[in-house]
């Protein structure tokens, strides 16, 4: 390590549930390389300075969605954020709006429960026999939901959403976006089931269209669009149900 090498100070949130009453800040001054991402700096701290630092990461290519953290107060995928865009001091904390398990690791079980509740899989009224061959889908039909299928469940949208911060029941942007993605899939027949969930407590109508989820989404999924399209579909489904009893069209 030469003296001329650039250094940055990382102010990292630390929390040990066995020892700390509340999260605290710890500073690390480390040498950095021009091509580093924020995650590279955390890995350097973990490997060379303080092996007790805890955080999640995996793929290093903005695909797995593991390494979401607050970087200078903004929800970011640390493997995607170039370190060069930040100043001499970089503040790194756990995702906002989530309970913190340890250091930069958040409790993700609440998110998994919300995600599961919207049934994020293709629902068929009757399973298709293998002999019937694959279900066909045109490029136009695929295009309708493709954008929403790009969600990597990184939870940055939850960290930016002001409704999530104040309304624990709210399903949240990613869960609704993924549920909506299946509801508008031409192969799916479970939209009515999901609309029941969407219209329920903490459903789509809790969203106040702050649009912050779409602002921070690293994959340009635009969850705010999905949530508000889901509102429309939930209302249409409700209104249709008043006129046509469930199953009346069969």
């Amino acid at each position: 390590m030469s003296d001329g090498q650039q250094k940055k100070t990382f102010v990292v949130t630390r929390f040990d549930p066995d020892r700390d009453e509340a999260p605290r800040k710890q500073s690390y001054e480390i040498p950095v390389q021009p091509d580093w991402k924020v995650l590279d700096a955390l890995n350097f701290i973990k490997d060379e300075v303080d092996g007790t630092l805890s955080y999640r990461w995996s793929c290093r290519m903005a695909v797995c969605g593991s390494c979401g953290m607050m970087v200078n107060g903004e929800p970011r995928l640390t493997c995607k954020e170039a370190l060069s865009q930040y100043g001499d001091t970089v503040d790194v904390g756990p995702l906002a709006n989530f309970p913190v398990v340890r250091d930069l690791v958040i409790e993700a079980d609440g998110f998994m429960e919300k995600l599961t509740s919207v049934k994020p899989w293709i629902i068929r009224a009757k399973e298709r026999a293998v002999e019937e061959g694959p279900m066909r889908q045109s490029p136009a039909e695929h295009e309708e939901f493709k954008q929403f299928s790009l969600c990597i469940n990184c939870m940055l949208c939850y960290s930016a959403c002001p409704v999530v911060a104040n309304e624990p029941e709210f399903l949240g942007p990613a869960a609704i976006a993924v549920g909506h993605r299946y509801s508008i899939d031409s192969r799916d027949e479970g939209a009515a089931e999901r609309n029941e969930v969407f219209r329920g407590e903490g459903g789509v109508f809790s969203c106040s269209f702050a649009n912050e989820c779409s602002e921070v989404c690293p994959k340009n999924v635009d969850p705010a669009a999905a949530v508000n399209q889901a509102k429309f579909n939930a209302v249409i489904d409700w209104a249709t149900g008043l006129v046509l009893p469930r199953g009346g069209d069969e």
């Binding site: 949130t13 929390f15 549930p17 700390d20 509340a22 999260p23 607050m70 107060g73 929800p75 904390g93 756990p94 906002a96 709006n97 989530f98 309970p99 913190v100 398990v101 340890r102 958040i106 409790e107 079980d109 609440g110 998110f111 998994m112 429960e113 309708e144 939901f145 939850y158 960290s159 930016a160 002001p162 999530v164 911060a165 104040n166 309304e167 624990p168 949240g172 508008i184 106040s208 269209f209 702050a210 649009n211 912050e212 602002e215 635009d222 705010a224 669009a225 508000n228 399209q229 509102k231 429309f232 579909n233 249409i236």
Partner: protein, 146 residues
């Protein structure tokens, strides 16, 4: 990190075995950075509440005789009232522009076989409608039609 979010925000239905630190609000919420526009958008609700109250007062005075109604007209000329309406106008324009910006992407991919028009067309229709209604009401209020 600054203030706590709701203590149960994003908490699982059954607490885990490990003690957790409470969820924190984003640093910038509610008046900093990206949240300012959203907060101002919501705060305009206060303007609408006051405007609604003033309209109700005016309607009430209509049923209370000519003197009461003349009092309302006199009050409308005060600088305080005009200033409030100027602020309300700014609020309405801000809300309109923000709402129109979000409106196109809230449209479903299609309603039956019908697909919504492209975003620029939706925006043009919204602004044309807004300007048209404003112009019509202005002409009516100026006594040009009725």
């Amino acid at each position: 990190m600054s203030r706590n979010a709701h203590p149960d925000a994003m908490a699982p239905s059954k607490p885990g075995r490990t003690r957790t630190a409470p969820p924190q609000l984003p640093d910038q919420f509610p008046f900093g950075g990206r949240y300012l526009a959203y907060t101002l958008f919501d705060l305009t609700g206060i303007l609408y509440l006051l405007l609604g109250f003033l309209v109700l007062c005016a309607v009430w005075s209509l049923g209370s005789g000519e003197a009461a109604w003349n009092g309302v007209l006199e009050r409308n000329r005060s600088m305080l009232y005009v200033g409030f309406h100027a602020i309300a106008l700014v609020g309405v324009i801000f809300v309109g522009i923000r709402f129109f910006g979000f409106f196109p992407k809230a449209q479903p991919p299609r309603i039956g076989p019908v697909k919504p028009p492209p975003k620029p067309v939706i925006l043009a229709m919204l602004y044309a409608l807004w300007i048209g209604v404003t112009a019509f009401l202005s002409i009516v209020l100026a006594g040009g039609i009725f």
